[in-house]
């Protein structure tokens, strides 16, 4: 909990992370591991929180088809995930339910499948043949996933894909951050960032705090914050709707891009892409279309009950890829923003935290590709 002193901004932190979602916490944990004293400034209970509404995929296949560096970053994170999850469990006792036994992308129509196969094959060429995937015809798909319906065209299979429970992940990260002495302030949002004497002053409604360095990991909030420290973050919200159904006995063996079953038995169906501005509600039409598609993929879902729905806002740059950049005009201010906070969590807590902590690994991370100046 926040102390009165923290409220007054007197508690020292080497570095402050703005944003207590999956992205901000992962970076914060990594910085703690490197011996820094870290504070996280977060919004309250009703924040537009992508971390709570996301789909929990640790996903590789098809990511970065127009950006090989992003494909490499995603795969690197997927490889680091096992150790990341094990570390969380060791320090908090919380099993975040990571499984990485592969994932399916099911296509309903033949032309949809063909387009996908073409894309994955071009990625394989980009990566000199090192890009594992398989194409499954309906029979092969049914071998892997017997619940699949009779009218799907097939699927692509990515052996490096997996999923995790994003709610337990959040809980484990918060707990580990606090246990390691991190300061979590829920008085946000930050409204102004001022730099003076090589440090920063953060200002919110009724509070200010000083910090040596600052990481912008505030999701959509980065758009206005970045401009204040000479960075460019042209982010727009993109809504994804998720339908969450009741617990049922094990039905699905693997996650896929549209439907997955959590370790508790809950079924999640997604996702839509809508450019709707800051509205995190849901619409009947999209819910119905998502449900219809899920049933066509897995007919047994017809009788499964929907318990709640979510509209979560993805944090999207114009090309869909992340921004990682240190400000040139305001050294000590870093921007970390992406829409795949789950998949990239391990890389954020690892190499990205290394880079912010001062290790000279920007070249190895290909960070110039992810600068905000590209827009």
């Amino acid at each position: 909990m926040m102390s009165a002193a923290a409220k007054m901004g007197r508690v020292e932190a080497d570095i402050t992370v703005i944003g207590g979602g999956l992205v901000g916490l992962a970076v914060a944990l990594g910085l703690q591991d490197r011996g820094l004293r870290v504070a996280v400034v977060d919004e309250g209970d009703l924040a537009l929180r992508a971390s709570r509404g996301n789909f929990g995929l640790v996903w590789v296949q098809g990511k970065g088809d127009t950006c090989p560096a992003y494909a490499r970053l995603s795969r690197r994170s997927a490889r680091l995930w096992g150790d990341f999850a094990a570390g969380l469990q060791e320090s908090t006792g919380i099993d975040v339910q990571l499984t990485q036994r592969g994932g399916l992308f099911i296509c309903l129509e033949q032309d949809e499948l063909q387009k996908r196969v073409d894309m994955l094959e071009s990625m394989r060429r980009q990566h000199d043949g090192d890009y594992p995937f398989e194409v499954l015809d309906p029979a092969a798909l049914r071998d892997k996933e017997p619940a699949v319906g009779p009218t799907v065209a097939g699927a692509t299979w990515g052996p490096e894909d997996g999923h995790v429970n994003p709610l337990l992940l959040m809980r484990a990260m918060v707990q580990r951050f606090l246990d390691a002495g991190g300061q979590l302030l829920t008085d946000g949002p930050v409204e102004r960032i001022e730099s003076h004497n090589g440090a920063f002053r953060l200002q919110g409604a009724g509070w200010t705090r000083e910090t040596g360095r600052v990481v912008l990991a505030a999701g959509l909030g980065n758009k206005s914050l970045a401009a204040q420290v000479g960075l460019n973050a042209p982010l727009e919200p993109n809504r994804g709707q998720v339908l969450i159904a009741e617990r049922v006995q094990p039905l699905l063996n693997y996650p896929n891009g549209h439907v997955r079953q959590t370790a508790e038995g809950t079924i999640q169906c997604g996702d839509s892409k809508e450019d709707v501005g800051f509205d995190c509600g849901t619409t009947t039409e999209v819910e119905a279309a998502i449900a219809a598609r899920a049933i066509r993929m897995f007919p047994a879902l017809e009788q499964v009950r929907l318990v709640r729905s979510w509209g979560a806002l993805r944090v999207m740059t114009p090309d869909g890829y992340p921004i990682y950049q240190q400000s040139e005009s305001h050294p000590g201010a870093y921007l970390v923003t992406c829409h795949s906070g789950v998949t990239l969590a391990a890389v954020h807590a690892g190499p990205i935290a290394d880079w912010i902590a001062g290790e000279n690994n920007a070249g190895e991370l290909e960070l110039e590709v992810f600068h905000g100046d590209r827009f």
Partner: protein, 485 residues
């Protein structure tokens, strides 16, 4: 999609009275209720009551008959047995016999009434523990009454009423245990002037107490620390409690509990209407204008869903809201509207005069508002009070974060039985007012609905979905049950 001037959700006293008033003003009304018959919970089944002896439930119940009879009006379309699962500003989705459909409206009246306040205490999930409201519903719909050792425990007017009704039906009551803290009698003194205006209610209370004494029901006050005990098979076998400085115990096969009723706010929250914390009634209530309109223009609330007032107030509020809606839709002139509004307001004020007294007297004991750490708070996901307190002390921002971390509120009841408790526990543990801690975000569906029923609307749209990559929707919906009928 069919369109109506007014859609009313809930055919209890507020909904029935509003439907008739609106229909008489010429509005096309859709009256929607989950039950097969109108009446709501208070007048449940009053059109075809199960019990032969009318004395058991008494005249207050049969007063609902005239409301049900009046519903036979050509302007009222009856959607009974219809479960509403999603509400938007101008449409709603409902399911009848497994088939979903949308209806459109110009105005919406939410008349979904109250639910019994959750009464968490150790053992409250044991089979054999039920609510007093449940016992009344069984009397009204099945003529079914507890048989075998019965204990009734809790606080509030309904506690006395159900004890009288069961006693009249010849049911033996081992004990009526009153958990009203003794200091509430003092705390309610300040509300005596209003109580005297509502003297009829006081008289009713006094006569119920006298009836229980006459019938020889053992009525013990000052009871606390309830704990339900289960036998080897998990069935209720006894209740232990604290009274007069001692721990005591009684055998029982059925335990009926009650701690008053609170507004059912699932629907009003799902549409984003503002709600305020009512410190006296210890519950959330939607913020309403003098005619019952919420902060979402065009959406009204009448009856207990807007704050507890009872059946007569609900009926008056239903008429008041219907008049306002008719006025807004230019079916009722300003002069007549104002005349009616003033008259209704006077009657409502008179009926509500007793409330401050009742609210203070029957404010639940703290042990039911913020139960002990071992007590299950979320019955569905089996989360205990201690875990919620621990999360709050660990800096958890509020109930929604706590829900994400603990799964409290994620089960099929969608937080109905844990939401109030979680907000109050977090307020206590983080030393903040409940109003600041807030409540769960309530999202559609309002009640669990099959994916097949949701998908059934995919073919029902006028426009294609915006999401380009979603395959063409196919019409898939039905329960085999409805086909086999």
């Amino acid at each position: 999609m069919n369109h109506y001037d007014l859609a009313i959700i809930g055919a209890g006293p507020a909904g029935m009275a509003a439907a008739v008033t609106a229909a008489e003003s010429g509005l096309q009304v859709a009256l929607i209720d989950e039950q097969a018959r109108p009446g709501g919970q208070i007048y449940r089944n009053v059109g075809s009551p199960a019990l032969r002896q009318r004395e058991i439930l008494g005249p207050d119940y049969y007063a609902g008959e005239r409301l049900v009879e009046a519903l036979d009006h050509p302007q009222i379309t009856d959607f009974s047995g219809a479960m509403v699962w999603e509400v938007r500003t101008d449409t709603l989705c409902l399911t009848v016999d497994g088939q979903s459909r949308q209806i459109g409206f110009q105005r919406l009246l939410i008349a979904t009434g109250a639910q019994e306040r959750p009464v968490p205490f150790p053992g409250w999930t044991t089979p054999g523990v039920m609510t007093c409201g449940a016992a009344q519903i069984m009397l009204k719909t099945s003529g079914l009454a507890p048989n075998g050792p019965l204990i009734i425990a809790g606080s509030g007017p309904l506690l006395l009423l159900i004890a009288c009704q069961l006693s009249r039906a010849g049911v033996e009551i081992e004990a009526l245990l009153e958990t009203t803290p003794r200091r509430r009698y003092l705390e309610s003194l300040s509300a005596w002037p209003g109580a005297l205006r509502g003297w009829r209610y006081l008289l009713k209370g006094a006569s119920m107490l006298a009836e229980l004494r006459r019938r020889g029901v053992k009525h013990l006050t000052g009871v606390s620390q309830l704990r339900a005990e289960a036998d080897a098979e998990g069935q209720l076998c006894g209740l232990s409690y604290h009274r007069g400085g001692h721990q005591q115990r009684l055998d029982c096969a059925t335990l009926l509990v009650h701690q008053g009723v609170v507004p059912n706010v699932q629907l009003s929250r799902s549409i984003g209407a503002a709600h305020d914390w009512d410190e006296v009634q210890q519950c959330w209530r939607p913020r309403l204008d003098p005619y019952g309109e919420t902060t979402q223009a065009g959406v009204f609330i009448a009856g207990d869903g807007g704050g507890i007032g009872g059946a007569l107030v609900a009926e008056l509020q239903g008429r008041r809201a219907a008049n306002r809606i008719a006025n807004q839709l230019s079916r009722l002139g300003a002069t007549e509207f104002e005349h009616r509004a003033n008259s209704l307001q006077r009657q409502i004020d008179f009926q509500l005069a007793i409330r401050p007294f009742l609210d203070r007297l029957y404010r639940p004991a703290d042990e039911f508002l913020r139960p002990s750490d071992e007590t299950l708070v979320c019955r569905c996901e089996e989360v205990r009070a201690g875990e919620i307190r621990q999360l709050a002390r660990g800096g958890c921002a509020g109930p929604n974060q706590a829900k994400a971390f603990s799964r409290a509120g994620m089960g099929p009841c969608q937080g109905r039985l844990c939401g109030l408790t979680v907000s109050q526990l977090m307020a206590e543990a983080s030393d903040r007012p409940v109003a600041e801690v807030g409540y769960y975000n309530i999202r559609s569906p309002i009640k669990p609905v099959t994916l097949g029923e949701v998908a059934g609307l995919a073919a029902d749209q006028d426009q294609q979905p915006q999401a380009p990559q979603i395959a063409e929707p196919s019409a898939v919906s039905n329960y085999q049950r409805s086909v086999s009928r």
